[in-house]
Protein backbone atom coordinates (compact mmCIF):
# COMPACT_ATOMS: atom_id res chain seq x y z
CA UNK A 1 0.00 0.00 0.00
CA UNK A 2 1.33 3.37 -1.01
CA UNK A 3 -0.25 5.40 1.74
CA UNK A 4 -2.26 5.28 4.94
CA UNK A 5 -5.57 6.17 3.32
CA UNK A 6 -5.37 2.99 1.24
CA UNK A 7 -4.80 0.89 4.36
CA UNK A 8 -7.87 2.49 5.93
CA UNK A 9 -9.96 1.68 2.87
CA UNK A 10 -8.69 -1.87 3.00
CA UNK A 11 -9.12 -2.57 6.72
CA UNK A 12 -12.52 -0.88 6.86
CA UNK A 13 -13.63 -3.28 4.13
CA UNK A 14 -13.17 -6.05 6.72
CA UNK A 15 -15.51 -4.16 9.05
CA UNK A 16 -18.07 -3.87 6.27
CA UNK A 17 -17.81 -7.60 5.54
CA UNK A 18 -18.24 -8.27 9.26
CA UNK A 19 -21.64 -6.64 9.07
CA UNK A 20 -20.72 -3.51 11.02
CA UNK A 21 -23.32 -0.79 11.52
CA UNK A 22 -20.74 1.66 12.76
CA UNK A 23 -17.08 2.04 11.86
CA UNK A 24 -14.87 4.43 13.76
CA UNK A 25 -11.59 5.58 12.28
CA UNK A 26 -9.33 7.51 14.57
CA UNK A 27 -5.98 9.05 13.79
CA UNK A 28 -3.92 10.51 16.55
CA UNK A 29 -0.75 12.46 15.88
CA UNK A 30 1.47 12.83 18.91
CA UNK A 31 4.79 14.27 17.81
CA UNK A 32 5.79 14.97 21.42
CA UNK A 33 5.64 11.23 22.10
CA UNK A 34 6.98 10.53 18.61
CA UNK A 35 3.88 8.48 17.82
CA UNK A 36 1.28 8.42 15.08
CA UNK A 37 -1.55 6.00 15.59
CA UNK A 38 -4.41 4.75 13.49
CA UNK A 39 -7.26 2.79 14.95
CA UNK A 40 -10.27 1.29 13.25
CA UNK A 41 -13.03 -0.14 15.37
CA UNK A 42 -16.36 -1.61 14.41
CA UNK A 43 -19.42 -3.23 15.94
CA UNK A 44 -19.35 -6.11 13.46
CA UNK A 45 -19.48 -9.77 14.28
CA UNK A 46 -16.00 -9.93 15.81
CA UNK A 47 -13.62 -12.86 15.89
CA UNK A 48 -12.96 -15.72 18.24
CA UNK A 49 -9.51 -16.17 19.72
CA UNK A 50 -8.40 -18.71 17.15
CA UNK A 51 -9.27 -16.47 14.24
CA UNK A 52 -7.78 -13.41 15.92
CA UNK A 53 -4.48 -15.21 16.21
CA UNK A 54 -4.58 -16.22 12.57
CA UNK A 55 -5.50 -12.99 10.81
CA UNK A 56 -1.98 -11.60 10.88
CA UNK A 57 -0.91 -14.63 8.85
CA UNK A 58 -1.00 -13.74 5.15
CA UNK A 59 -2.12 -17.26 4.31
CA UNK A 60 -5.32 -16.86 6.27
CA UNK A 61 -8.46 -15.35 4.77
CA UNK A 62 -12.19 -15.71 5.27
CA UNK A 63 -12.99 -15.42 1.61
CA UNK A 64 -13.43 -18.27 -0.76
CA UNK A 65 -12.37 -16.45 -3.91
CA UNK A 66 -8.66 -16.67 -3.12
CA UNK A 67 -6.27 -18.20 -0.66
CA UNK A 68 -4.36 -15.26 0.75
CA UNK A 69 -5.34 -12.35 2.97
CA UNK A 70 -2.81 -9.55 2.94
CA UNK A 71 -4.75 -6.59 4.34
CA UNK A 72 -3.92 -6.97 8.02
CA UNK A 73 -0.40 -8.40 7.55
CA UNK A 74 0.58 -5.46 5.31
CA UNK A 75 -0.61 -2.87 7.80
CA UNK A 76 1.17 -4.71 10.61
CA UNK A 77 4.35 -4.83 8.56
CA UNK A 78 4.20 -1.12 7.76
CA UNK A 79 3.67 -0.19 11.41
CA UNK A 80 6.41 -2.47 12.70
CA UNK A 81 8.80 -1.33 10.00
CA UNK A 82 8.87 2.10 11.65
CA UNK A 83 9.53 0.55 15.05
CA UNK A 84 5.87 0.88 15.93
CA UNK A 85 3.37 -1.71 17.08
CA UNK A 86 0.18 -3.42 16.04
CA UNK A 87 -2.68 -4.80 18.06
CA UNK A 88 -6.02 -6.45 17.50
CA UNK A 89 -8.73 -6.65 20.08
CA UNK A 90 -11.80 -8.63 19.20
CA UNK A 91 -14.44 -10.81 20.72
CA UNK A 92 -16.93 -12.96 18.92
CA UNK A 93 -20.13 -10.96 18.67
CA UNK A 94 -18.52 -7.86 20.06
CA UNK A 95 -16.78 -6.05 17.24
CA UNK A 96 -13.14 -5.57 16.44
CA UNK A 97 -10.54 -2.92 17.17
CA UNK A 98 -7.38 -2.68 15.13
CA UNK A 99 -4.66 -0.30 16.15
CA UNK A 100 -1.48 0.42 14.25
CA UNK A 101 1.05 2.69 15.87
CA UNK A 102 3.84 4.23 13.82
CA UNK A 103 6.95 6.02 14.99
CA UNK A 104 6.18 9.61 14.03
CA UNK A 105 9.52 10.76 12.69
CA UNK A 106 10.54 7.48 11.07
CA UNK A 107 11.40 7.79 7.40
CA UNK A 108 9.32 4.71 6.57
CA UNK A 109 6.13 6.06 8.10
CA UNK A 110 3.65 6.09 5.23
CA UNK A 111 2.35 9.36 3.86
CA UNK A 112 -1.29 9.95 4.77
CA UNK A 113 -2.56 10.08 1.20
CA UNK A 114 -6.09 11.17 0.41
CA UNK A 115 -7.78 10.66 3.78
CA UNK A 116 -10.80 12.81 2.90
CA UNK A 117 -11.44 10.92 -0.34
CA UNK A 118 -11.22 7.57 1.42
CA UNK A 119 -13.69 8.51 4.15
CA UNK A 120 -16.25 10.08 1.83
CA UNK A 121 -15.95 7.25 -0.67
CA UNK A 122 -16.73 4.68 2.03
CA UNK A 123 -19.62 6.72 3.42
CA UNK A 124 -21.02 7.20 -0.06
CA UNK A 125 -20.70 3.56 -1.11
CA UNK A 126 -22.14 2.24 2.17
CA UNK A 127 -24.92 4.65 3.14
CA UNK A 128 -26.35 2.28 5.74
CA UNK A 129 -23.13 2.28 7.76
CA UNK A 130 -22.20 5.10 10.10
CA UNK A 131 -18.60 6.20 9.61
CA UNK A 132 -17.05 8.34 12.31
CA UNK A 133 -13.66 9.74 11.47
CA UNK A 134 -11.72 11.61 14.11
CA UNK A 135 -8.35 13.20 13.52
CA UNK A 136 -6.42 14.61 16.45
CA UNK A 137 -3.21 16.60 16.31
CA UNK A 138 -1.61 18.98 18.83
CA UNK A 139 -3.29 21.77 16.81
CA UNK A 140 -6.81 20.48 17.31
CA UNK A 141 -9.38 17.87 16.52
CA UNK A 142 -11.78 17.25 13.66
CA UNK A 143 -14.65 14.76 13.54
CA UNK A 144 -16.65 13.74 10.50
CA UNK A 145 -19.75 11.71 11.25
CA UNK A 146 -21.57 10.34 8.20
CA UNK A 147 -24.86 10.06 10.06
CA UNK A 148 -24.70 13.69 11.12
CA UNK A 149 -23.97 14.65 7.52
CA UNK A 150 -26.90 12.56 6.30
CA UNK A 151 -29.18 14.39 8.74
CA UNK A 152 -28.05 17.72 7.35
CA UNK A 153 -28.53 16.51 3.79
CA UNK A 154 -32.07 15.41 4.58
CA UNK A 155 -33.67 13.74 1.59
CA UNK A 156 -30.52 13.89 -0.53
CA UNK A 157 -28.79 10.54 -0.02
CA UNK A 158 -25.14 10.69 1.00
CA UNK A 159 -24.52 8.34 -1.94
CA UNK A 160 -25.60 11.06 -4.38
CA UNK A 161 -22.56 11.64 -6.57
CA UNK A 162 -22.93 15.40 -6.79
CA UNK A 163 -22.39 15.60 -3.02
CA UNK A 164 -19.08 13.73 -3.14
CA UNK A 165 -16.77 16.64 -4.05
CA UNK A 166 -18.41 18.91 -1.45
CA UNK A 167 -17.90 16.44 1.38
CA UNK A 168 -14.31 15.84 0.33
CA UNK A 169 -13.69 19.56 0.34
CA UNK A 170 -15.28 19.90 3.77
CA UNK A 171 -12.96 17.34 5.32
CA UNK A 172 -9.88 18.70 3.56
CA UNK A 173 -10.59 22.26 4.69
CA UNK A 174 -10.89 21.13 8.29
CA UNK A 175 -7.80 18.96 8.15
CA UNK A 176 -5.86 21.96 6.86
CA UNK A 177 -6.60 23.76 10.11
CA UNK A 178 -5.13 21.09 12.32
CA UNK A 179 -2.21 20.14 10.10
CA UNK A 180 1.10 20.30 11.92
CA UNK A 181 3.56 19.30 9.20
Amino acid sequence: MKDLSLHILDIAQNSISAGAGQVEITIEEQPSENLYSLSISDDGKGMDEEMRNKVTDPFFTTRTSRKVGMGIPLLKLNAERTGGSFEIDSKKGNGTLIKATFVFNHIDRLPEGDLAGTIVMMASANPSIQFIYTHRTPAGKYTFDSREVQEVLGEIPISELSIYPYLKEMINENLKDIRIH
Binding site: S17, S65, V149, M170
Partner: protein
Protein backbone atom coordinates in the same frame (compact mmCIF):
# COMPACT_ATOMS: atom_id res chain seq x y z
CA UNK B 1 -18.02 29.57 -5.19
CA UNK B 2 -17.49 29.58 -1.47
CA UNK B 3 -15.59 26.80 0.21
CA UNK B 4 -17.52 24.16 2.08
CA UNK B 5 -16.18 23.79 5.55
CA UNK B 6 -18.94 23.36 8.09
CA UNK B 7 -22.23 21.49 8.18
CA UNK B 8 -23.89 24.88 7.79
CA UNK B 9 -22.08 25.44 4.50
CA UNK B 10 -23.36 22.06 3.45
CA UNK B 11 -26.90 23.09 4.33
CA UNK B 12 -26.50 26.10 2.04
CA UNK B 13 -25.65 24.10 -1.06
CA UNK B 14 -28.52 21.71 -0.43
CA UNK B 15 -31.08 23.61 -2.45
CA UNK B 16 -28.90 23.82 -5.54
CA UNK B 17 -28.26 20.08 -5.40
CA UNK B 18 -31.94 19.44 -4.82
CA UNK B 19 -33.06 21.43 -7.82
CA UNK B 20 -30.55 19.54 -9.92
CA UNK B 21 -31.92 16.24 -8.64
CA UNK B 22 -35.48 17.32 -9.33
CA UNK B 23 -34.60 17.52 -13.02
CA UNK B 24 -33.73 13.88 -13.07
CA UNK B 25 -36.43 11.46 -13.88
CA UNK B 26 -35.03 8.18 -12.81
CA UNK B 27 -33.50 8.77 -9.40
CA UNK B 28 -36.36 6.96 -7.67
CA UNK B 29 -35.77 3.78 -9.61
CA UNK B 30 -32.37 2.36 -8.77
CA UNK B 31 -32.85 -0.48 -11.28
CA UNK B 32 -32.86 2.12 -14.04
CA UNK B 33 -29.56 3.64 -13.04
CA UNK B 34 -26.16 2.62 -14.29
CA UNK B 35 -24.49 0.68 -11.49
CA UNK B 36 -20.76 0.58 -11.11
CA UNK B 37 -19.16 -1.63 -8.50
CA UNK B 38 -15.46 -1.29 -7.86
CA UNK B 39 -13.62 -4.28 -6.39
CA UNK B 40 -12.06 -2.88 -3.24
CA UNK B 41 -10.14 -5.63 -1.55
CA UNK B 42 -6.43 -5.53 -0.79
CA UNK B 43 -5.54 -6.61 -4.33
CA UNK B 44 -7.78 -3.99 -5.92
CA UNK B 45 -6.71 -1.15 -3.65
CA UNK B 46 -3.03 -1.94 -4.12
CA UNK B 47 -3.47 -1.75 -7.89
CA UNK B 48 -5.27 1.58 -7.92
CA UNK B 49 -8.97 0.87 -7.33
CA UNK B 50 -9.36 3.99 -5.23
CA UNK B 51 -8.22 6.23 -8.08
CA UNK B 52 -10.62 4.46 -10.43
CA UNK B 53 -13.52 4.79 -8.01
CA UNK B 54 -12.80 8.47 -7.44
CA UNK B 55 -12.63 9.00 -11.21
CA UNK B 56 -15.92 7.19 -11.77
CA UNK B 57 -17.70 9.15 -9.04
CA UNK B 58 -16.52 12.48 -10.39
CA UNK B 59 -16.80 11.77 -14.12
CA UNK B 60 -20.22 10.06 -14.18
CA UNK B 61 -21.60 13.06 -12.34
CA UNK B 62 -19.85 15.52 -14.69
CA UNK B 63 -21.09 13.71 -17.77
CA UNK B 64 -24.61 13.64 -16.40
CA UNK B 65 -25.03 9.90 -16.30
CA UNK B 66 -27.40 8.90 -13.56
CA UNK B 67 -25.58 6.21 -11.68
CA UNK B 68 -24.65 4.62 -8.41
CA UNK B 69 -21.05 3.81 -7.60
CA UNK B 70 -20.42 1.30 -4.85
CA UNK B 71 -17.65 -0.97 -3.73
CA UNK B 72 -17.46 -4.70 -3.47
CA UNK B 73 -14.97 -7.22 -2.15
CA UNK B 74 -12.49 -9.29 -4.10
CA UNK B 75 -14.15 -10.95 -7.06
CA UNK B 76 -11.31 -13.41 -7.44
CA UNK B 77 -9.64 -11.75 -10.43
CA UNK B 78 -6.67 -10.45 -8.47
CA UNK B 79 -4.44 -10.74 -11.53
CA UNK B 80 -6.61 -8.29 -13.44
CA UNK B 81 -7.11 -5.62 -10.79
CA UNK B 82 -8.43 -3.01 -10.68
CA UNK B 83 -11.68 -4.60 -11.80
CA UNK B 84 -15.08 -2.99 -12.01
CA UNK B 85 -18.52 -4.41 -12.65
CA UNK B 86 -20.79 -2.27 -14.78
CA UNK B 87 -24.51 -2.90 -15.00
CA UNK B 88 -26.36 -0.89 -17.60
CA UNK B 89 -30.15 -1.06 -17.06
CA UNK B 90 -31.65 -4.01 -18.90
CA UNK B 91 -28.30 -5.68 -19.57
CA UNK B 92 -26.25 -8.33 -17.79
CA UNK B 93 -23.42 -7.08 -15.59
CA UNK B 94 -20.03 -6.96 -17.28
CA UNK B 95 -16.72 -7.13 -15.44
CA UNK B 96 -13.84 -5.11 -16.85
CA UNK B 97 -10.28 -5.80 -15.79
CA UNK B 98 -7.07 -3.74 -15.78
CA UNK B 99 -9.05 -0.53 -15.37
CA UNK B 100 -7.17 2.71 -15.02
CA UNK B 101 -8.56 6.20 -15.55
CA UNK B 102 -7.98 5.94 -19.31
CA UNK B 103 -9.86 2.65 -19.54
CA UNK B 104 -12.55 4.05 -17.22
CA UNK B 105 -13.02 6.94 -19.62
CA UNK B 106 -13.46 4.48 -22.52
CA UNK B 107 -15.93 2.42 -20.51
CA UNK B 108 -18.05 5.51 -19.87
CA UNK B 109 -17.85 6.88 -23.40
CA UNK B 110 -18.11 3.64 -25.36
CA UNK B 111 -19.86 1.06 -23.21
CA UNK B 112 -22.13 3.05 -20.90
CA UNK B 113 -23.09 5.72 -23.42
CA UNK B 114 -23.13 3.72 -26.67
CA UNK B 115 -23.23 0.06 -25.72
CA UNK B 116 -19.98 -0.68 -27.60
CA UNK B 117 -17.74 -3.20 -25.90
CA UNK B 118 -14.22 -2.23 -24.97
CA UNK B 119 -11.17 -4.39 -24.42
CA UNK B 120 -10.51 -5.95 -21.04
CA UNK B 121 -13.78 -7.75 -20.39
CA UNK B 122 -13.41 -10.74 -18.12
CA UNK B 123 -15.35 -13.44 -19.93
CA UNK B 124 -16.84 -15.61 -17.24
CA UNK B 125 -20.14 -16.86 -16.07
CA UNK B 126 -19.88 -14.23 -13.49
CA UNK B 127 -21.33 -14.46 -10.02
CA UNK B 128 -20.90 -11.46 -7.79
CA UNK B 129 -19.31 -11.92 -4.41
CA UNK B 130 -22.68 -11.52 -2.70
CA UNK B 131 -24.06 -14.57 -4.45
CA UNK B 132 -21.28 -16.90 -3.42
Amino acid sequence: MTTIKSLDDLRKIKSSVQSKLALRERSDHPDQLVQVRVAMATCGIASGAKIVMDYMMVELEKRNIESIVTQTGCMGYCYAEPTIEVTVPGKDPIVFGYVDTKKADQIIEKYIKNGELVEGIIPVNYESIDEK
